[in-house]
Amino acid sequence: MEEVDYLCMRCGNEYRGPFDKLVPVERSCPKCNSNSIRRNKKKKKNPTASA
């Protein structure tokens, strides 16, 4: 499965997680368990930027 960057809107944690367009997977933050998870597209454009 494809892996993409995610950003937790609760605790600010940035992580990589699975992404499947056809069978969406439930997103949850590995650090705080929140489901307020956003695709971190900024990171994609600038892969060298660090958290």
Binding site: M9, R10, P24, E26, R27, S34, N35, S36, R38
Partner: protein, 624 residues
């Protein structure tokens, strides 16, 4: 069991699995896969000739692997249906045809190597979930040496060793030297009431009484056996249970409060030794036993996920299926027309299983007797004057309840009311407000937002919660008296899929500091996958908020099941902290940019609409 096989009203489908369940209360469509057993069920008369000639020897699962069976076999002597089965994984003849001995001797020609799985379609009004339980596997608990020491057995294995129908025909022996053990230990709570990551925190309910029963069986068959039971608490709470416990003690069974830390095997005698602290006598004693029985706990069936998904059930934190209400609706599943019976709901003994099964049957009969069911008037309706035929709703409806529509020919879509389940995703996704979600209309929800944000908006969190899961989670938090800040105001929708972007934006425009959208976990969504659209919408909203210079963190998303009262309470505490950090400036900025953005969009729409004929709205009247 025999009665089931004989009953004219029971269609018994063994060696069969549910592939799919669709529909709703009163009208479920079920697809069953009846797996090929390679023996004609109607013809086989269990003459056993096939078994005699079969050259394959395999471990007998029913006897816990203590004895063997053939590749063609009877599951156990009293099996219903009383028919042989051929295990295609063990059989030589199946592929490639090399053996075929059984088929040669079968006089009735009922062995068919080419038998195929059969798909059976059923239509039913109610479903009873009696999927049972699995038994805890203590292999991982190194301290007890199960699988490492042969004379450490589980209580399930003990059942076979003592059974007259077991591998030893009821002669109770220990595995290493096949002698009848004289000193036997039972260890309670194996895998239960444990905080370890490989155990379960709950009490498995049946193991205390099972051990007491086992001790009495042993004392009856082999008087003079020295039996010691190591326990945390003996829970003999049912009718007649205390009596059995006392009988066991009077028969000479020793009960010691305390569990062994570790079991050691004497390499020569294969006896087992352990050091146990008796927490009643306050003493530490060395024990030696010939056999140790691990009284293993009960766990949810390992394949619970499948049935959970098919019937959109929920599970409590222990993994068993959740009932509609823990006290008042203990056999109803949250899904209408689905009932729970036996260990699928929680660990229970035979009597309790029978009781619950009869209750489930009675509950189902209420439904079947009525013959008809009132369906809540919560369905979608097309406002044909507004519909452009763009078919967005057709795409998002999880139940394919919206059909037709043509944007070019300006033909509006149609809602098939019987198929519509009322999630409201269509109304949320429609860009033209052309779908009216009955009882959860835009005006109704907007009025709730207005009322919340009318006064002291900055002190409140606007929380959208779906009827089935998150609203129930909030209920459970209250029911469990979990305390959290008073800032949250709940707006109930049937599904999080109903939460229109404009609701969220409206709340922010009115000065709400934090908005929460909450719904069911993916596996629990009561509208198949409607909450996937919630995620897409929230994703878009975060993008929009960022574009407008509003901190996207102010919009939160959470999946909270009806069993997760704690998660609801914790989320409310988190959100309150986040609310305190939202500044008045931020709130006002969001209010002004959102107002501007909305007015721009409205002006654009108005301009477009001026070219067309005006549309009619349905007025709300005070009196029905």
């Amino acid at each position: 069991m025999m009665d089931v096989g004989r009953h004219s009203k029971i269609n018994l489908l063994t060696y069969s699995e549910i592939e799919n369940i669709g529909g709703y209360i009163g009208n479920f469509q079920v697809t069953v896969r009846k797996k090929a057993r390679y023996v004609d069920e109607k013809e086989c008369n269990a003459c056993a000739e096939c078994e005699k000639v079969c050259p394959v020897v395999a471990a007998d699962e029913f006897q816990e692997g203590f004895s063997s069976r053939k590749a063609i076999y009877m599951p156990f002597p009293q099996a219903v249906p009383s028919v042989y089965i051929l295990d295609d994984k063990d059989c030589l003849g199946h592929n490639p045809i090399a053996c075929g001995k059984c088929a040669d001797v079968c006089e009735k020609n009922c062995i068919d190597f080419d038998m195929k799985d059969e798909i059976i379609n059923l239509n039913v009004g109610a479903v009873i979930t009696a999927t049972g339980m699995d038994v805890y596997d203590p292999t991982e608990m190194d301290e007890y040496g199960y699988t490492q020491y042969e004379n450490v057995v589980t209580s399930m294995e003990f059942e076979r060793l003592i059974s007259a129908g077991g591998p030893t025909e009821g002669h109770f022996i220990r595995p290493t030297d096949r002698k009848t053990p004289k000193r036997i230990a039972f260890i309670q709570c194996v895998g239960s009431r444990s905080n370890s990551p490989i155990g379960n925190p709950y009490c498995s309910n049946i193991c205390c009484m099972n051990t007491i029963k086992d001790s009495l069986l042993l004392m009856d068959h082999y008087p003079g056996t020295e039996i010691t039971v190591f326990y945390i608490d003996i829970r003999a709470f049912g009718k007649g249970f205390e009596d059995l416990f006392q009988r066991s003690k009077q028969a000479g069974v020793k009960y010691i409060r305390g569990l062994p830390g570790e079991i050691f095997e004497d390499p020569k005698t294969k006896n087992l030794t352990m050091l146990v602290e008796d927490t009643v006598a306050n003493s530490v004693t060395d024990f030696e036993f010939d056999l140790v029985v691990l009284s293993v706990g009960v766990i949810p069936r390992r394949d619970s996920d499948l049935i959970q998904r098919l019937l959109t059930l929920s599970r409590t934190t222990d993994g068993f299926f959740m009932e509609s209400h823990p006290k008042l609706k203990p056999v109803d599943a949250p899904t209408g027309g689905v009932f729970l019976a036996g260990c699928a709901e929680s660990p229970k003994d035979v009597k309790d299983s029978v009781t619950q099964a009869s209750a489930a049957a009675a509950r189902a009969q209420i439904l079947l007797n009525a013959g008809k069911i009132n369906v809540e008037a919560i369905t979608s309706q097309v406002l044909t004057d507004f519909c452009t035929g763009c078919q967005v709703c057709v795409k998002v409806c999880p139940f394919h309840a919206i059909t037709g529509g043509d944007a070019k020919l300006k033909i509006p879509v149609e809602v098939v009311e019987a198929a519509c389940q009322g999630c409201g995703t269509c109304a949320a996704e429609c860009n033209f407000d052309a779908l009216l979600m009955k009882h959860f209309e835009d005006e109704q929800i907007m009025s709730q937002i207005d009322a919340i944000t009318g006064e002291n908006a900055a002190d409140k969190v606007v929380a959208f919660a779906c009827n089935w899961c998150s609203y129930g989670g909030a209920d459970l938090a209250g029911l469990s008296r979990m305390q959290y800040p008073t800032s949250q105001r709940v707006i109930k929708t049937m599904c999080s899929g109903r939460v229109d972007s404009k609701f969220v934006l409206h709340a922010f425009e009115n000065g709400a500091p934090i908005v929460l959208v909450s719904g069911c976990h993916y596996a629990d969504c009561h509208y198949i996958d409607a909450n996937r659209w919630t995620v897409k919408r929230v994703d878009k909203l975060w993008d929009k908020m960022e574009r407008l210079g509003i901190r996207p963190e102010r919009l939160q998303l959470e999946w909270i099941s009806a069993a997760e009262g704690q998660k609801w309470a914790n989320t409310m505490k988190d959100l309150e902290k986040m609310r305190e950090q939202v500044t008045q400036e931020e709130i006002e900025h969001a209010m002004s940019v959102l107002k501007e953005d909305r007015e721009k969009a409205e002006a654009k729409k108005k301009k477009k609409a001026e070219k067309k004929t005006p549309v009619k709205e349905i007025p709300i009247e005070a009196s029905a």
